[in-house]
């Protein structure tokens, strides 16, 4: 059996740390959600305590705003390095073409996997933008402005932001499921081990 070709150390480090802080951000975010559910307000259904972090609103905010800087810095530097040094590994239009015309199954899987993990980075970036807009809506009013597109339909930009920020959790969960399955189909345990720290 050939030796495993490990991904560069920085890739593995950013990848693992991102998973850790993402779990903390999601769980503390759901704790904050429970103080006033996005859907239904004070009468809305809350998230089971099992999936929350912090114990109460202030505890959830302690974690969410305590970790956000690490989350943002890790994601920002990681995406920057990926674009600079490993952009050939990120999805390109060619991958969409492969999915449309190729009948070569391994090639299709590889293209689908590249699309999935590249999309994950975009969703994580979107969670950061919507989060910043709600963290400082007065100072970053220009970041809130693009979310007022549904105002004519009676949806305040704040509610749009809340829904968008929350939507990144189911979105990243679905993509994470696809990422795990596809990476297994593409490279099996060897690929997983090549990304383990």
């Amino acid at each position: 059996m050939a030796a495993i070709r490990y991904a560069p150390l920085w890739t593995r480090a950013f990848h693992s740390f991102n998973l850790l802080v993402l779990l903390l951000m999601a769980a503390s975010g759901l704790q904050i959600y429970n103080a006033n559910p996005v859907f239904g307000g004070r009468d809305g259904a809350t998230v089971p305590e099992l999936f929350t972090l912090g114990g109460w609103l202030a505890g959830g905010r302690d974690w969410h705003f305590g970790v956000m800087g690490l989350y943002a810095a890790n994601l920002g530097v990681w995406i920057g390095l990926l674009l600079r040094q490993r952009h050939q590994r990120l999805a390109a239009l060619g991958d969409v073409g492969t999915l449309r015309v190729s009948s070569n199954t391994p090639k299709r899987r590889l293209a689908a996997h590249r699309l999935v993990y590249s999309l994950m980075l975009i969703v994580l970036g979107f969670s950061l933008i919507t989060g910043m807009a709600m963290y400082k809506p007065a100072q970053f009013w220009w970041l809130v402005a693009p979310f007022s597109f549904a105002e004519a339909a009676g949806h305040d930009s704040w509610q749009v932001l809340r829904v968008c920020h929350l939507a990144t959790i189911p979105a990243i969960s679905l993509l994470l499921g696809a990422h795990v399955v596809l990476s297994w189909r593409v490279g099996g345990l060897r690929l997983w081990r090549s990304m383990a720290v």
Partner: protein
């Protein structure tokens, strides 16, 4: 192949890792006790950045037709105090050259300003509200604040208490509101006098304000919710 002599082979550690994943969920409960320490470690830096981020100039406001009265929910930690407008007085003291005791007529005689702002609650909801009344900066200027004053302690009739940094108190859109959405302030919303500003979360916006005290340093009582774990600066 698993080497029995190696208790932490790569394959075994992978299995251990997968097996340990469910404990992460249980660990979440244990982590709740660490929340305060996480906040204590990170809030000072966050608060400093928030203060740096906050400009001295006016922020964009909303259009009056964006006001949604139904969106503004009522929060109070201790019910609603009974205040007689005729005997009501606002005390301004502490590090000032002229301590004041203002009645509602004196507050109404000051220049009035209307601000259509988004009121953001720490719980996550928000409401666009049109507040009007004198600017907090004008009331403080009347009292002649000492250059040593760095903080304002705000006392309320319901025993709620808050403390603000001077820069936020002097912000041109920080009001001592007496009116809301074009009508006199309802009792549930803090009549006869409450704080309103675009730059702070709702729990900083004391209702039923009866006293302003200028201080050089923050005391032990930093705010009702802050003393229970909420962030003090709470900037928006």
């Amino acid at each position: 192949m698993v080497n029995p002599a190696d208790p932490l082979s790569r394959r075994r550690s992978l299995g251990l890792l997968l097996g340990a994943a469910p404990t992460l969920l249980l660990g979440g409960c244990a982590l709740n006790g660490v929340s305060e320490a996480v906040g204590a470690a990170t809030q000072p830096l966050n608060e400093r950045l928030e203060a740096l981020l906050q400009g001295k100039g006016k922020l964009p406001e909303f259009r009056p037709n964006q006001v949604d009265p139904a969106a503004l929910l009522i929060n109070s930690f201790n019910g609603m105090p009974d205040i007689d407008p005729a005997s009501y007085r606002l005390d301004v003291d502490g590090l000032v050259s002229r301590p004041l005791r203002l009645d509602l007529a004196a507050l109404a005689a000051l220049p009035q300003q209307q601000c259509v702002l988004r009121h953001v609650c720490v719980e996550g909801w928000s409401a666009i509200v049109a507040w009007s009344g004198p600017r907090l900066a004008d009331v403080l200027a009347l009292a002649g604040p000492s250059p040593l004053a760095g903080y304002v302690f705000i006392a309320s009739a319901d025993q709620y208490y808050e403390s603000w940094d001077m820069a936020s108190a002097l912000h041109p859109q920080t009001l001592l509101a007496t009116h809301m959405n074009g009508a006199p302030l309802p009792a549930a919303n803090g009549a006869p006098l409450r704080l309103a500003t675009p730059v702070k979360l709702g729990y900083k916006l004391s209702k039923w304000v009866t006293g302003l005290k200028l201080m050089a340093t923050l005391g032990d009582r930093r705010g009702y919710w802050e003393d229970q774990g909420y962030e003090w600066f709470a900037g928006l």
